[in-house]
Assembly symmetry: C2
Homo-oligomer: 142 residues x 2
């Protein structure tokens, strides 16, 4: 492992995968700046993303490599890929092909807000939650 | 654990902390939309953030709760807090007090880009990497 100053100030790309072999990937819409999703990449997903310019991830639930859009056609073209100071998180600015990112049919996975300034139980509020596409038709699942 | 449709479509806030007791928090600048940092929250950091409207996190390296800005004065006022479809990631839109977010002195922690379309070893490129403040003076560390 490279030393901390090399990781923070150097130009060698040395992604710091966690004990699970993954780094966190934050995906924003290159035009609006909105956060579309948060996902994870293993070394192979990262390699394919860099080489192809299209986003690949590793699914923790399905335990497999996946290309965003492989089922839905909603591919993400990566406009810019950045790494953070300690190289354990990635930021992808993407052009999202198709009407939306989220498997629920929304444009973004972040369609609910948590009200601030309250203690106790919290009730979410829908925000930008209109469906952009019919997820059942796109993914073919009930 | 609530069932999947309740987690995705319900209004009950049920953050899905990982085995380490943490959820991922993506922090963007409320004005520019730029990703400033990626951090983690435990239940207590999240509770304090919701109640106070200022961002608290859990440091995995220091193994302790911390309020952003407690050393630097660079507090983050939370403009909006959102949760994603499966409630295992949070998005904070913040007004960053002071000149920058990153402990290295940059405005954002994401000050290097990974060039795309290449195989093999990758050389990073500085991007928006000018120092916004003197981190040694602010944090008092060499």
């Amino acid at each position: 492992m490279a030393d901390q100053s090399e990781i923070e100030e150097g130009l060698a790309f040395a992604p710091q995968f966690g004990a699970d072999g993954l780094v966190t990937a934050v995906v924003t819409d290159a035009k609006s700046g909105d956060v579309l999703m948060v996902a994870h990449m293993d070394a192979e997903a990262l390699r394919r993303t860099i080489e192809s310019g299209e986003a690949w991830y590793y699914s923790r639930s399905r335990k497999k490599l996946w290309k965003k859009g492989e089922s839905s056609g909603h591919v993400q073209r990566v406009v810019e890929l950045r790494v953070d100071c300690d190289q354990d998180a990635l930021w992808l600015k993407v052009e999202q092909q198709g009407p939306g990112t989220c498997h629920t049919g929304r444009r973004s996975c972040f369609y609910r807000a948590v009200p601030l300034g309250k203690g106790g139980a919290v009730t979410l509020e829908f925000r930008d939650a209109e469906k952009a596409f019919d997820s059942k038709a796109v993914y073919g699942k009930p």
